[in-house]
Symmetry: D3
Subunit: 149 residues, 6 copies
Amino acid sequence: MAQTKYGDDFRLGEVFETGAVTVTETHVVNWAGLTGDFYPLHMDKEYAAKTRFGERLAHGPMIFALAVGLVGLSGVGADSVIAWLGVDDMRMHRPVLIGDTIRVRVEVKEQTRTKDPQRGVQVWLYTVLNQRGETVMSFDYKMMFHMRG
Amino acid sequence: MAQTKYGDDFRLGEVFETGAVTVTETHVVNWAGLTGDFYPLHMDKEYAAKTRFGERLAHGPMIFALAVGLVGLSGVGADSVIAWLGVDDMRMHRPVLIGDTIRVRVEVKEQTRTKDPQRGVQVWLYTVLNQRGETVMSFDYKMMFHMRG
Amino acid sequence: MAQTKYGDDFRLGEVFETGAVTVTETHVVNWAGLTGDFYPLHMDKEYAAKTRFGERLAHGPMIFALAVGLVGLSGVGADSVIAWLGVDDMRMHRPVLIGDTIRVRVEVKEQTRTKDPQRGVQVWLYTVLNQRGETVMSFDYKMMFHMRG
Amino acid sequence: MAQTKYGDDFRLGEVFETGAVTVTETHVVNWAGLTGDFYPLHMDKEYAAKTRFGERLAHGPMIFALAVGLVGLSGVGADSVIAWLGVDDMRMHRPVLIGDTIRVRVEVKEQTRTKDPQRGVQVWLYTVLNQRGETVMSFDYKMMFHMRG
Amino acid sequence: MAQTKYGDDFRLGEVFETGAVTVTETHVVNWAGLTGDFYPLHMDKEYAAKTRFGERLAHGPMIFALAVGLVGLSGVGADSVIAWLGVDDMRMHRPVLIGDTIRVRVEVKEQTRTKDPQRGVQVWLYTVLNQRGETVMSFDYKMMFHMRG
Amino acid sequence: MAQTKYGDDFRLGEVFETGAVTVTETHVVNWAGLTGDFYPLHMDKEYAAKTRFGERLAHGPMIFALAVGLVGLSGVGADSVIAWLGVDDMRMHRPVLIGDTIRVRVEVKEQTRTKDPQRGVQVWLYTVLNQRGETVMSFDYKMMFHMRG
């Protein structure tokens, strides 16, 4: 199929918003199983009740993973991305509790040309918000894009 | 239960190695389902066959998640960690194919005292290696630790 | 093993009832993951709260799938079925909410002989009921059966 | 958010094609677990080897479910759909084996106005194709759409 | 619903055989995730290759769990069982490799009356066989049954 | 890697305690799916409400499986175990409800030398406790250990 979207289609400073997903107990239990992270703050209700949070938290790295998934589901990047290069400055700002609903605000933060006119590097700032509009996580997501050249 | 391990128990430059896990097709399919990342390079064998990789790749963020899980399963940090603060400089160095086996080499990279003598911040460098000992991913993992004070 | 049951063992108009299953949040989240259907009415509690349903609904096609599974688990058809031919007139009559419990009432609706005396086609009407006995879905399920010939 | 797409945006006879997904052993095992359909043709390699297929088949209803998911992931309907009304004429044309890759060709087959100018009913014909372009399943998918009125 | 089957319906020494299930890599990975058993003999292909088995084994307790499930799916006990009392003499006779297909042969081994004429205790010997008819596991499964009194 | 722990490192009568895990609805639904045990006491809220328990119970064999997993996650046996030999005297003492949190108390109960000085057999008594410290299950877990010889 012909390429439908290119890195050129995104302007510096442009902002997109994804759909949302409710982070359920199922997400937390399945995440623990897939990754092996059975830390009691996520898996032991009695332990969590004695922490300052009072209940089980979603795993931080899962919020990152769900954010990446939400951006994919939103279709904004479509087929413009060639490769994922990395992540910088990932910070957890607030805990996500079971039952919270998260969505992502994406901002085109940096755009760099490469020697190859058909390839460009961009950094998109992903800000994960909960149902109250509070920032729970943010990170810089770096990708290689197809460019019209 | 009494605290068994503290941030003080880790020396700058110290290195640990975790156990390993084989990244299976099941991991990839379950990951897509949990996060919503159905990008064809991971989910469509026919598409992947036409890329320069020749076959489906594991999702990059899953390698990060599995690395965090492997360190947890290794028990090295035990109950010394208070909170996960964030990640910097996450880079994918090589693709991980279905059937590859990964493990993590952890190096204590930075140790910082805080105003509270019972809390310290440390950065641990996680290097993910495949079954040929090649580095597939690396990142700085920043955590708040209990300190003996 | 010898064939234990044949299409001849079912009389036109005969009715069977299956066991029941509670449709949980886990079913909904796992279903989304397996099929890729992350529509917000199923996955986003905040979105669902603003609809006329007031909460997340189970995916309609999952009710179909669970109905097929319940009939299988009931053992009624046993080893009499050769192949699944198709479905007609599938209709969703009422939404299924997380926590509802569904069961299936099966009625033998049509029986057709084929040129091969050992093969017959039958249509079974599957009516899915919730815990209040309300019909939530119905469909005609068409199968090829072993016949005594 | 403002409505972005309406039933009016689809012309009778228009055709869309979705992305594809490889149907893996993981899909089959997870499907059996979610629905309770442990029929040996899907779950017992030894049994399947003695059938005319020679190996385990994917569950027919799962192909339906994956097709619905693929259309959702393609984003073609976006937020134009109000409700799923039902399915007619679902037929399995060829078996899907573990390792086959399926995609959906969608054709706008029927468009009906309702008394409410802001609501329309449409039937879309979903044709599921394998990696050789062969039709494995087809069905009519009936939905209620937002109309510009 | 009226009780359909009673402990009285099973004769001492009677033998039943269940259907079979192929133990897949998906079973092993999902089992590890659900239970937290990430022992390398099950999860690390490279480690397993160096053992005398040469490849990853299915978890022993999963063979037990699958056996219990296969007996349930066979429908033999139907609604006659009141409660599961325990297990004795569970032994692993041979390893189960990924790709093996197991089924269960059940023998009614002990029948005991209780003071309550409507309740009886029975021990059923479950023998798990692989696709070559070799015994891989056996155990005594003790249950409380409804009796006709 | 060099062997880190041996059977000799455990003294007769020694007691260990594992971390805990909350048994969620997700565990129950995923367990049913993996094993095929869809018994209504676990899967049908309406049925369970009419039993003396008043609600759905966790599957007994899952408590066994989670106990084995919790001991593995605790790291107590580390790499000292060569093989799992079997289980005796598994008894369910109390039901586990969805939402209960379980942990395991392990006692070294029997230690037997074999003809091979580098191999020893040990029986560890696993007692599973709920959040109120009540025993819900107990069993003898028999393993072959590496010995210093």
